[in-house]
Symmetry: C2
C-alpha cells in the first residue's frame, strides 16, 4: 500500500470547485512562444519538382538548407489576479499533445480550465516533435521512424477496456465495468493522437529544460510519458521547479540520479484504477514508487493520491478526461493548497 | 488600381484600439475539439521491435490496424459578452499553424488577442496535417512526401528581404528597406514552421468544411494558402460563412466556380508591401483580383485593403506579426464594423 498525504486521503467530501463557477475568467493575456532547439544544416539531398498551391507555377524544390529544429511550443493563459504562487506547466504524455489538458473529448471543460478557475496561470506545451512544436526531417534530424498508435492499442494502454473488449464498431465495444472514461467519446479522443518517435528523449528533455529556464519558478504537472521529463526537470532545476504533480507517470530518473537534489521539491503522484493484472502499468508504477521512496529517504516529500484506495473506482489512464475529472482535479488542487503553493 | 471600400480607404487616423487596453478580458471558456476525418485501416506492413520509454520492456510494434485520420484541431476562446455577431475563425497559411495568430515572434500580443479585445469569440485552428491536428502515415494515407521550408526560402517568400539579403548570421541579414517585420525575431518566427504536404488540399478543405458546419455562422479570416480554403469554404456554405477576410491570400476557386453563390458574403482582401517585381506574389494577386471582380460582377462585395495605397509602407507577407500589426488589425476591424458584423 502506498503512502498518501493523509490530509488528502482523509478527505471524502471535496468542496464545490470553482470550475463549476459561471463567472467569467479574468484573463490578462493569452499567448504563446517557441523555446529551445538549434540551427541545423541539411545537404546532399536531391531536388524534386513540386507545385505548392493550386495555380502556382511548378517549382524545383531544393530540400537542402538551414533549418531551426527541435524547438518546443508553449501556450499560456495569464490571469489578471492569480491565486497560485507559481504558474502551472502542464506536460502531456506519449503520442499526444497539450490538447490532453483542454476540453474533454465529450465536451466538458478540462483541467486547463479547472486550474485556471482555481487561480493558476497555466502553460500548456506540446513536447518537442509533437503538435505545434513541429517535427523534423528523418532520419537526417530525428533518428529512426515515427510510430502511430492504433485505436485498439489506445483502448488497452490507456486502460479503458480489456483487449477483447475492443471493436471498431462503437456499439460493440466493451469497456471495463465501472469505467469513468467517457466511452462514447473514444473516437474523438483518438483524434487527439499524433505520431511520435522513440529516439528523441534527449531533445524533448532539452526543450523542457529550456522552458523551465524561461518561465519558472513554477509547478510542473505531467502525464504518462511526461513523468520522465517532469521528474528529470526537477532534478535539473530544483531551484526553479517548486513542485511536481505526476499523473499516472511512466519512467523515472536513472538509478544514478541524486534524489537529495529534489528534497525541497514536493512531489505528488496520482493513480487511477484497473492497474492490477496489467504488467506494463504495475511495472511502471513499481519504478515510480521506488523513486518516491528515494525522495522520501533523502528527506523530501513524495505523496501519492491513489484514487481506488480513496474509494474512487473506475478511473482510466486519461483521468483528466474521465467523468469525475473535476473531482480528481479538486483533490490535486487541495494538495497544492496544503503544500503552500497558493497565496 | 484595385478598388477599396471607400470608408476604409479614406480613413487616415484609426481610432485607439481596445488591444492596447489593460483591462482583463472577460472569458467564458477556453477550449478545443477535433473535427472531421475518417476511419482508415492499414495492413500489410512489417512488425518491428521498439522500446516506448526508458525502462519499458522492448515490444514488437505492429504498425497495422485502425486509425482515425485527416481530422482537424480547433481551439476557441469564448467571451462572456461578445460584441461581434459571429465567431471569428482564423485559418493560417502553408507550412504554419494557428500560432500565426498568437503572440508575435517578438513577444507582442497578436491578432488573436486583438480580435478578442475587439469583442470577437475567436477560433484558431491548425489545418488538417499540421500542428495539433496530427498527421498521417505516408504514403499509405498522405500521398507523396512532406516538405520543410528552409530559413532562406521563408526570408524571400514572406517578403522580409531580398534573396541576396539572406544570411544565417542574424547580424549579416539585410531586410527590405523600411520593412515592418520584426527582423531580429526572424529565428523565433521560423520556429513556428511545420512540415506540409502538397497533395492534401482535398482533405484540408473537407476538414475546414466540417468546421464550418460545426461552428458557423461565422466570419472566416484566412492567410496565404488559407485563402484557397477560405474562398472555397464560403462557396461551399454561403449560408454559414458571413464574411471572408483574406490576408495576403494565395490561390482562388476554380474557373468554373459560381461567384453568384457568394454575392451575399462580403469579402475583404488585405495586401502588404514589396509585391512589385515578385512574380510569385504579383501572379497570385492577379488571380485573386479576378476572383474579386467576378464576385462584384455577380452583385457581391469584394473590397481590398491595399496598405501601400493607403500610405502604409513596409508590411511583409506576415503582416499580423509586423510592428504595425495592431494598426492593420484596426483597419480590418473597422471594415467589419462597417459591414454590419458587430452588434
Amino acid at each position: 500500500m502506498l503512502c498518501c498525504a493523509s490530509s488528502v486521503c482523509g478527505t471524502t467530501a471535496v468542496k464545490a470547485q470553482p470550475a463549476t463557477d459561471g463567472e467569467p475568467l479574468q484573463v490578462r493575456e493569452i499567448g504563446s512562444f517557441h523555446v529551445g532547439g538549434r540551427l541545423a544544416t541539411i545537404s546532399g539531398l536531391p531536388e524534386r519538382e513540386i507545385t505548392l498551391l493550386p495555380g502556382a507555377p511548378s517549382m524545383r524544390l531544393n530540400p537542402n538548407g538551414e533549418f531551426w529544429v527541435e524547438q518546443m511550443y508553449a501556450q499560456y493563459v495569464r490571469l489578471a489576479d492569480p491565486r497560485a504562487r507559481y504558474p502551472l506547466l502542464m506536460w502531456h504524455g506519449g503520442g499526444l499533445t497539450g490538447v490532453t489538458w483542454e476540453t474533454t473529448p465529450d465536451g466538458r471543460p478540462g483541467w486547463q480550465m479547472f486550474f485556471l478557475r482555481a487561480g493558476h496561470d497555466v502553460y500548456v506545451s506540446d513536447a518537442m516533435e509533437r503538435g505545434r512544436s513541429g517535427w523534423n526531417r528523418f532520419p537526417e534530424i530525428f533518428a529512426g521512424e515515427p510510430i502511430w498508435r492504433t485505436m485498439s492499442e489506445g483502448w488497452t494502454l490507456f486502460r479503458i477496456g480489456p483487449a477483447d473488449g475492443w471493436n471498431i464498431d462503437p456499439a460493440q465495444r466493451r469497456a471495463f465495468e465501472g469505467t469513468r472514461f467517457p466511452v462514447p467519446a473514444y473516437n474523438p479522443f483518438v483524434m487527439q493522437g499524433v505520431p511520435r518517435w522513440t529516439t528523441t528523449d534527449r531533445q524533448v528533455m532539452a526543450a523542457y529544460d529550456a522552458l523551465v529556464q524561461r518561465v519558472c519558478p513554477c509547478v510542473v504537472m505531467v502525464h504518462s510519458q511526461g513523468g520522465y521529463f517532469g521528474f528529470n526537470a526537477a532534478l535539473n532545476a530544483p531551484d526553479k521547479v517548486k513542485a511536481v504533480i505526476a499523473v499516472e507517470p511512466y519512467a523515472t530518473p536513472d538509478a544514478s540520479a541524486d534524489a537529495a537534489r529534489v528534497k525541497d521539491v514536493p512531489h505528488l503522484v496520482v493513480w487511477g484504477d484497473f492497474l492490477e493484472g496489467n504488467a506494463f502499468w504495475t511495472g511502471g508504477r513499481s519504478k515510480v514508487t521506488v523513486w518516491q521512496e528515494r525522495i522520501r529517504a533523502a528527506g523530501g516529500v513524495a505523496d501519492t493520491l491513489d484514487l481506488p484506495a480513496e474509494g474512487i473506482r473506475g478511473n482510466s489512464h486519461m483521468l483528466m478526461m474521465d467523468t469525475n475529472s473535476d473531482d480528481v482535479a479538486a483533490r490535486v488542487q487541495q494538495w497544492m493548497e496544503q503544500r503552500g503553493l497558493m497565496r
